[in-house]
């Protein structure tokens, strides 16, 4: 992949809700190996902040935990420019606007980046806590490798 503008990686989640911290973990682990072709951000608050965060970027990777029971693999990738995000997929947040809603809001306002890939990591436990489920930790490593190969 060749582009002059850096790729933006956004990890989003709640660090105190166990597996919901998966997106933040990915951002932190990728940051250690990142280069000047990648900008890394973490969002722990209202997902509406996404609209400002990706302003000016054309290539954005977003990572969040997924609560979907139907998901079979450890993670999934959605091309959010081509595909509407299923309502409720990223509904782990206690905030009133979910990640899916923020993305659909951006679509309706014409504020989606040119390329937006959303990584959904299947979480099991969203109770209070700072410990990841073991399978989520494995999925995080897979997503990190996937992202690093994408920016190389």
């Amino acid at each position: 992949m060749k582009t002059e503008m850096p790729v933006l990686l956004i990890g989003i989640g709640n660090p105190f809700r166990s597996d919901d911290r998966a997106g933040l973990e990915v951002a932190q682990r990728v940051q250690r190996s990142a280069n000047d072709r990648l900008k890394v951000l973490q969002i722990t608050g209202n997902p509406l902040a996404l609209l400002d965060a990706w302003e000016g970027y054309s290539d954005v990777l977003l990572v969040d935990a997924v609560s979907s029971k139907s998901q079979t693999g450890p993670f999934q990738i959605i091309d959010a420019v081509q595909q509407t995000i299923p309502a409720g997929l990223f509904n782990t947040s206690t905030h009133n606007i979910s990640v899916a809603e923020a993305i659909e809001m951006a679509r309706n306002l014409g504020q989606l980046p040119e390329r937006l890939k959303v990584y959904g990591i299947a979480g099991q436990n969203f109770q209070f806590g700072e410990t990841l489920s073991s399978h989520v930790d494995g999925a995080i490593e897979e997503v990190v490798r996937h992202i690093l190969s994408y920016i190389e």
Binding site: L48, N96, I97, E101, E104
Partner: protein, 434 residues
């Protein structure tokens, strides 16, 4: 969703969206009369008051800020004022102004979220703000940008936009040079114009015919629209020092809610929030806010809760105007905080959260350890008034189709911008007709 069984029917909405928090509403209708209305708040109590006991008095703004992600500044302000009251400390001058400035940021981000993301779709017939954005792109974009100005102010003064970390008992951890406020001042010049547009826009919406004779309760200050200080007054003649709160108000446990219902001992339900502040402090609005309110068709008295969306816009305009006034007159304080030594005492704090008065009371020992805490948030104070609104609202609109009636009941709840997050997360609505 409507279910029929013989001559009765149940209207049920599994999830009422666009409120902060989780709860449920049950309405039972028999013939033309409402038999029962219950705003159910079912999330377990969070015991903040209990685990504050034994903590140091300096920890209280950071612990209580965690009660709510939408109105953390309110918790910080009520708690620091209560502690300063207990310790006999007065914070004034530029430090007081900075507190007021931070509060402006919270009112803006909280009110604008509710106006454009949560409440406006009701008036325009959209399921949510995402659908509304397709047809009202400019309005939603302006709303989001306005909210961001509030968030940016919170980030600057508070250290971060959610659960600020710069507030301490006695003042702030860090204060700012005037130059550091230059960029945000420029943003607020745009924000004030945008807020004026918001007032004009909300005034064009259609409002159900509905008025009640409420007892409004709010702070009243002799020279300013209330944020941090004032006497507690009401439209029925209450006029007390905040230290007398417990003598006039009491909290009751009701079976269907895990949030205590607060009532006036002598008269029962009352109404706090933007509508109450507006009705009791209209004369304290700045000229631009007062004039905009009048041009929007509001007079000194407004008793239609559906028009709260206009009043929130007026308060956003006021907050932008007040923030600009403080920013333009700002001089860096000599010191970021007033030194405080602990001593035994009881202190009281009551400030105007976006949704209404937030009362705190603490007792501390001579080492500054908290012995006892009481926190009364605005949504718990409005619970009974929300139920009473629905008791009167539903009979007037029983001719509406079930789906429309249900929608309007949800809208009537959202008039209060209930922050059930201070206790819960989802709200389910169920109307039972017989």
């Amino acid at each position: 969703m409507a279910k029929k069984k013989s001559d009765s029917k149940i209207i049920k909405v599994d999830t009422l969206a666009r409120v902060e928090g989780e709860g449920a509403l049950y309405i039972k209708v028999q013939g033309n009369s409402v038999q029962d209305v219950r705003l159910k708040i079912f999330e377990p109590p969070r015991f903040f008051e209990a685990f504050l006991r034994g903590r140091d008095f300096k920890e209280v703004p950071d612990i209580t800020a965690r009660i709510c992600g939408i109105c953390p500044v309110a918790y910080q302000m009520s708690s620091v004022h209560a502690m300063e009251d207990a310790l006999g400390v007065k914070v004034d001058g530029p430090l007081r102004d900075l507190r007021r400035l931070l509060y402006c940021g919270e009112w803006i981000e909280s009110h604008v979220l509710h106006i454009f993301m949560l409440h406006a779709p009701d008036f325009l017939g959209y399921e949510d703000a995402i659908q509304m954005a397709k047809d009202h792109r400019e309005v939603v974009e302006r709303g989001l940008k306005l909210k961001k100005v509030g968030n940016d102010l919170m980030t600057l003064i508070g250290g971060r936009e959610i659960h600020p970390i710069n507030v301490r008992v006695g003042g702030f951890y860090k204060v700012f040079k005037k130059q550091q406020l230059k960029d945000i001042t420029e943003q607020f010049k745009w924000a004030r114009d945008a807020a004026l547009e918001a007032v004009r826009w909300t005034a064009t919406l259609s409002f159900p015919e509905f008025e009640r004779d409420y007892e409004f309760v709010a702070l009243r200050h002799p020279s300013e629209y209330p944020f941090n200080e004032g006497r507690l007054v009401s439209s029925a003649g209450l006029d007390i020092d905040i230290r007398e709160f417990d003598q006039h108000f009491e909290e009751e446990h009701v079976e269907h809610s895990n949030a205590l219902h607060s009532v006036l001992k002598e008269r029962g339900a009352y109404f706090v929030g933007p509508m109450a502040r507006f009705n009791l402090n209209f004369d304290q609005l700045s000229p631009i806010a007062r004039e905009a309110a009048e041009q929007a068709g509001l007079s000194r008295e407004c008793r239609n809760p559906f028009k709260s969306i206009i009043i929130r816009s007026v308060e956003v305009l006021y907050a932008c105007d007040e923030a600009l006034r403080i920013l333009e007159n700002y001089e860096m304080p000599d010191r970021p905080f007033v030194e405080i030594e602990p001593k035994t005492g009881t202190g009281y704090g009551c400030t105007e959260a976006p949704r209404g008065i937030l009362y705190h009371r603490y007792s501390i020992d001579d080492s500054g350890k908290i012995l006892d805490a009481q926190i009364v948030p605005p949504t718990s104070q409005n619970q009974k008034t929300i139920e009473n609104d629905l008791k009167e609202f539903v009979p007037k609109y029983l001719d509406l189709p079930d789906a429309e009636l249900t929608w309007q009941c949800e809208q009537a709840i959202r008039n209060y911008d209930p922050c059930i997050s201070c206790a819960t997360h989802f709200l389910k609505l169920e109307v039972d007709r017989e």
